[in-house]
């Protein structure tokens, strides 16, 4: 593993790559890497997300995307993802839509190295009629008819984690969604982390979910690297920033991404970041 800069790390993601984007909802997306892909002007990426939000919308808005495999892309309380919606409606991007389970099991199949996995699928729906994703199989033992869901091959998985050691082990916290299986499914794995620690420090917290060093190709130290999405227990989702994104950032994604991460972080008000950190702990019983 090579500790790298964001610029060096995204060299492993050429135009046309299939890129799985970690995180889920408005939590734990690898936003520093997303911003770097936008800065570098990558094109024709094929994105994979289970429940996506601002990462997918920003990449689509910057013109980086050819297709999206997804079950959900939304800005949640702030409504439909504006760039995703526009590009989907105009046909600018190809949509490879599945159900939530169809997405997770497609990623799982790729992580296991099998071409499909069987399950009791979404019968009677139009999604189940997509032959690239779903077909019917008969169990060779019982004859039971099941839905086969196709594996989703992934070139590169990008993730944000809590901490990495200097050996390249990456521990996850917070809401890590399908991250572990995305990492196992991909040929190349790039992680940003909040902190870099010694191997001894990392091993003192060995109960945290691990993307182990045999999978990880590049690690980048990127504090607030999931912002404006959350990374607990460091900071909650910055809904103030999601509002700003909807009101302006989405229309000019290049400006929103800033010239580099230092400038992106400098733009954030110190009080704002302190509030995001405080809200991790300000939990009250009813």
């Amino acid at each position: 593993v090579i500790p790298a800069s964001l610029e060096e790390a995204v060299e492993l993601i050429p135009d046309g790559s299939t890129v799985a984007v970690g995180g889920a909802w408005l939590s734990g997306h690898p936003m520093a890497l997303v911003r770097e892909l936008i800065r570098q002007g990558r094109r024709d990426l094929h994105l994979v997300t289970v429940v996506g939000s601002v990462a997918i919308d920003a990449l689509v808005g910057a013109g980086c995307v050819a297709s999206v495999a997804f079950s959900f892309v939304s800005l949640e309380a702030f409504g439909l993802a504006p760039n995703f919606r526009r590009a989907a409606e105009s046909g600018e991007i190809e949509l490879r839509e599945r159900t939530g389970v169809g997405m997770t099991m497609g990623i799982e199949a790729a992580s296991r190295g099998v071409p499909f996995l069987p399950y009791e699928g979404p019968e009677g729906t139009e999604l189940a009629g997509r032959p690239d994703a779903y077909r019917t199989v008969e169990c060779p033992f019982t004859g039971r008819r099941l839905t086969a869901v196709a594996a989703i091959p992934i070139d590169v998985t990008i993730l944000h984690g809590a901490r990495a050691d200097t050996d390249g082990n990456v521990q996850l916290e917070g809401t890590h969604g399908p991250d572990l299986h995305m990492a196992e499914a991909a040929s190349t794995v790039i992680c940003t982390v909040e902190e870099v620690v010694s191997p001894a420090e990392l091993r003192s917290r060995s109960r945290a979910p691990l993307v182990s060093r045999h999978l990880v190709d590049r690690v980048v130290h990127a504090p607030l690297g999931a912002h404006p999405t959350s990374y607990l227990p460091y900071y909650v989702t910055d809904m103030w920033a999601i509002e700003e994104y909807v009101d302006g950032g989405a229309a000019d994604v290049a400006a929103w991404a800033a010239e580099d991460e230092e400038r992106y972080r400098d733009r954030l008000d110190v009080d704002r970041v302190e509030r995001l950190r405080a809200l991790v702990h300000a939990v009250e019983a009813p």
Binding site: A24, W25, L26, S27, V50, V51, F70, S71, F72, V73, S74, E76, A77, F78, L80, F84, A88, E89, E97, T99, G100, V101, T104, M105, I107, E108, Y119, E120, P122, E123, G124, T125, E126, L127, G174, T175, H176, G177, P178, L180, H181, P209, S230, L232, P233, V236, T237, M239, W240, E243, E274, R275, A278, L279, H281, A282, V283, E284, A285, P286
Partner: protein, 279 residues
Amino acid sequence: VTSDAMSRDDVAALVCVRLAREVDDGDLIVLGSFTPMAYSAYMLAKATHAPNAFVVAYSALDVAPFSLSLMGVEAGALAAPAGRIEMIDVVHRIHQRGRGDVEAVSAPQMDGDLRFNYAWIGPGGDRPLRLPGGAGAPEVIHHHRKLLAYFPRHRPEVLCHAVDYVSATRPPGRVDATRILTDLAVLAPRDGRLAVESIHPGVTRAQVDEATGFPLVWPDEVEVTAPPSGSELDALRRVDPQGTLRLEFVDGRGRRTLLRELLDAEERRADRYRAAARG
């Protein structure tokens, strides 16, 4: 609309309380995407008659009850869980095994055959509006033992004649364990069709028929939905002190105004915590 029609806030509270009553003690629930109405109902149930309801949220198993807020749900879920779970394990251990007991879902469209649309609004071939997609909803609707579908806007375009796209269906064997809660009425399946179980205070039969895109079965005597009790409303205020559940009941500009109000409330909540932490 009659003179004793309820305010939107009162209707939101009524629907939430009615949803919470459908949660039995010990039920297993998986939180989905940001749906304050559903979250409030689960937490209300847990804070009142169903303390043993088992909630899975984000990467957290069996979350402890917490007060809801716009930016506090994930932190609340992850504050004191019994354990952690991977997304793929939620799929296998809960959804696929049919171990999910109840979930409250909404949808941009549902028709009388309990088909749900999360993908496209507009007729086939000419699809002007792209929706977010269903995430876990198609499997929840398919597999969960009880389905609670709620619709803050009971209109013929929403409870429609036929959905524009079929994202999810309820299998025949599980149809009966379904309740539809709207801002006008409670519906339940009866002999393969949807029947009116009750209408909310101040709502008329004509109003419900006009707002529904498919024919409804009406009982001889229509009950009025029991309004929330004083203690249920008190508990709801403790569970959702900022009133986030109102978000799903307001439209357009009203929604943005409410969001701003909730964002300001979060700023004050953070600053209160920072002041207390400084001692």
